[in-house]
């Protein structure tokens, strides 16, 4: 009987693995024939940004109700039109762009990216579609505002965007402190105005854009002998194409050569004018944000709740099954014993791996890795659900195992003495008690999930934190936006704690019991004294 169950386990496991890794039904290349999938941050005005309407010829962002616009989007539209393919924007974090392209999740990177030698090792680049210069952006009243050469930045705290060549240029500023790189321009703008940095290296365009919303900044142009030195191509901006996709590369180059300089400048000027501005502050900021982004925040809350809820429930089921298997007593038969030992070993490997690595890393490995190795294009929400579930499962497996072993041995023995089988003992006696005792830890895990799903922004799942980042980058109201977001997190976790406390109470059952008046006796019987001590 036990061995049959064991086989059932092995079978389920095998199915799980084959579903996970084996299916090649959905080929990435085939799926993208009709649409032209463009990867960009949609968070780097005036090249690309996110907006809530399709005004000024914006393009919908895949998997959301938002739209992308900007210089990159307009260039993408020209390419799409010539190729007779519908342009779809895949909003992707900067660090995720290259893996997304090499794994085939996107067809082109049009994201204000420069064709550096290092990147050229991984992907191919088109001819440039924009040339620019690098500047240091500082506050107008800063002591570095009048700097002329790379030698004038002694002691200055300078940063740049993570993974960009701007960050490498800081080394040329003699005596400057290279601060940790930041994720995006909005955070650098915020740091600059908050005074935590003295300046950041960016393109002249960033200066033009930022100047429109914040007149208190100044650009320091470093040219000539004592200026920045970099290969000519670094100032260029090109379109990234997957290696081996030479046909598409040729087509893109041909289309780019057909766009005149005048047309390019016109597009860039339009982008600078249209890029998101800080709104005129006539209304309360809270009302403004909620009015403009209320539905977006709500959908972020929905996604966060979905991830946390499904993740915790599926994780609980996984944890329960793993916890049960790991506490099965060693059978006497030799074959069963080795089989069980092997399954237990597999499960402990699972627990160790998923407890021992950050969920963010798991997300990146699973989402991009599966696409790259098996050409299986997982929907990112599905990927997120899978990741949260198996991650939670690994934690809860240990929690439940702990709950099972901490149930008093007397409970096991009393059940054994009645002749119950192992599974009867587990389902009717041990697990109800173990789960009840584990509830506080499960609540904990649920709350952790609500907060920690924010790391899934690395695969661009639009949960609450991702939404918050997007709003902040559009409104430049960092404190206000994140304040609202943190308030929502608090409300969510607080309500969930209450709900679980209620469930815990319910599981304890009624505290009152009424003495049952029965027909035979209504009082406790008088017991004969004959057998008491003599």
């Amino acid at each position: 009987m036990k061995s049959r169950k064991l086989w059932k386990w092995a079978f389920l496991l095998a199915i799980g693995f084959s579903l996970f890794f084996g299916g090649k039904s959905q080929s990435v290349q085939a799926a993208s024939k009709g649409e032209l999938k463009i990867g960009m941050e949609a968070n780097y005005p005036p090249y690309n940004w996110t907006q809530s309407t399709k005004a000024h010829g914006a393009v919908p962002i895949d998997g959301s109700k938002q739209f992308a616009n900007g210089y990159d989007v307009q260039i993408a539209k020209i390419i799409g039109k010539k190729l007779h393919r519908k342009v779809v924007v895949e909003k992707t974090e900067w660090d995720g762009l290259l893996p997304a392209l090499t794994s085939g999740k996107i067809d082109l990177i049009i994201a204000g990216m420069s064709p550096t030698a290092q990147r050229k090792k991984a992907i191919n680049f088109s001819a440039p579609y924009r040339k620019s210069t690098f500047v240091v952006i500082v506050n107008k009243n800063s002591k570095y505002a009048n700097a002329k050469t790379v030698n004038d930045f002694k002691g200055a705290k300078i940063t740049a965007q993570q993974g960009t060549l701007h960050y490498g240029l800081i080394k040329q500023l003699k005596g400057a402190h290279r601060e940790p790189a930041m994720r995006d321009f909005p955070s650098m703008r915020e740091s600059l105005s908050a005074g935590t940095i003295d300046g950041y290296v960016a393109e002249d365009l960033e200066y033009i854009s930022y100047k429109r919303v914040n007149p208190n900044i100044k650009e320091v142009v470093l040219k000539g002998q004592n200026g920045f030195h970099y290969p000519a191509s670094d100032g260029e901006t090109s379109i990234g194409v997957k290696k081996g996709n030479d046909q598409l590369l040729a087509q893109v180059n041909q289309i780019l050569s057909g766009i005149s300089n005048a047309k390019r400048n016109q597009l860039m000027k339009a982008a600078i004018v249209q890029q998101p501005q800080t709104e005129t502050k006539t209304q309360n900021w809270f009302v403004t944000i909620m009015k403009t982004y209320g539905s977006m925040i709500l959908s972020g809350v929905g996604m966060t709740l979905l991830l946390a809820l499904v993740g915790t429930i599926v994780g609980f089921v996984i944890g329960l099954l793993v916890g049960i298997v790991r506490t099965i007593p060693t059978p006497t038969a030799r074959f069963k014993r080795w089989g069980l030992k092997f399954v237990k070993w597999l499960l402990s490997v699972y627990v160790e791996i998923f407890r021992g690595t950050p969920m963010m890393v798991q997300a990146a490995v699973i989402y991009y890795g599966i696409a790259q190795l098996w050409h299986l294009n997982l929907n990112r929400t599905v990927a997120a659900l899978i990741i949260v579930s198996i991650n939670t499962g690994a934690y809860l497996a240990e929690v439940i195992r702990g709950g099972i072993i901490s149930t008093p041995t007397g409970q096991f023995e009393a059940a054994s003495a009645l002749g119950m089988t192992h599974s009867q003992k587990m389902w009717h006696i041990i697990l109800p008690q173990a789960i009840r005792n584990c509830l506080p830890s499960i609540t904990n895990e649920f709350i952790v999930n609500i907060k920690d799903t924010s790391v899934l922004s690395i695969i661009s799942v639009s949960e609450l934190f991702f939404v918050g980042t997007t709003i902040a980058s559009q409104t430049f109201e960092f404190f206000q936006t994140y304040f609202i977001i943190s308030l929502i997190y608090l409300i969510l976790t607080f309500s969930i704690t209450r709900i679980f406390n209620w469930i815990e109470k319910r599981l304890e059952g009624p505290q009152n019991y009424n003495l049952m008046a029965n027909q035979v006796q209504t009082v406790a019987p008088k017991l004969s004294k004959e057998v008491s001590h003599d």
């Binding site: 007397g410 009645l418 008046a517 004294k529 057998v531």
Partner: protein
Amino acid sequence: MTEPSLLTVSHLQKKYGDHQVLKDISFDLKKSEVLTIIGPSGGGKSTLLRCVNLLEQPTSGQIKFHQENVLDSGFNQNRYRAKVGMVFQQFNLFSNKNVLQNCMIGQELVLKRSAEQARKIAIANLEKVGMAPYRNAKPRQLSGGQQQRVAIARAVCMDPDILLFDEPTSALDPEMVGDVLASMKRLAQSGLTMMIVTHEMAFAKSVSDQIIFMSQGVITEQGTPQQLFEKTQTPELTKFLQHFRQEAI
């Protein structure tokens, strides 16, 4: 009168590593007999009982139940356990179930009785120990003596061939002991085969057909209550009983 034995234990040994807890234990239990095991703490009484119920795996020896060897690899241990009930020192009522459910669950799962039938039997047996009015209470809401009486009812509900009692009154306050012993005595009188580990000498004397005195893992003396209490043979038992005689009021 040569009725076959219900339970025959022969040459039973139990070792924990090098420590030998039971050394060559043999005895016989006939239907409707009450066998009491007495002896100093650490003498192996509880271990013997737990070996009979297979809560501990004996190291060597034989346990025959209805002439069948319980320790054979093909033997259905769960079915055996259902017929050999056990009442524990610490009661061990299922804390997630109320009194009635505690008495019903074994009947339903193991004996496959219907809920209706199980309920009837449970209430009847709870009434016998005076606990029927408490059927909706959870174990932790009851006193020790009440819990132990429920535990006895739970075991009796399974219609066991033998009922084992592992120091059933040792964890109880003195004023609770009487109720539990009264319930046990009534069971003994009803013809149930019982094997009891206890420190209640007066009780042992009054209900037992056979008494085993165990010390240091061996059966030192064995016989009827009269033989052991009136015509004590060994110095060990004399010393052991002296302790109780001093205490008696």
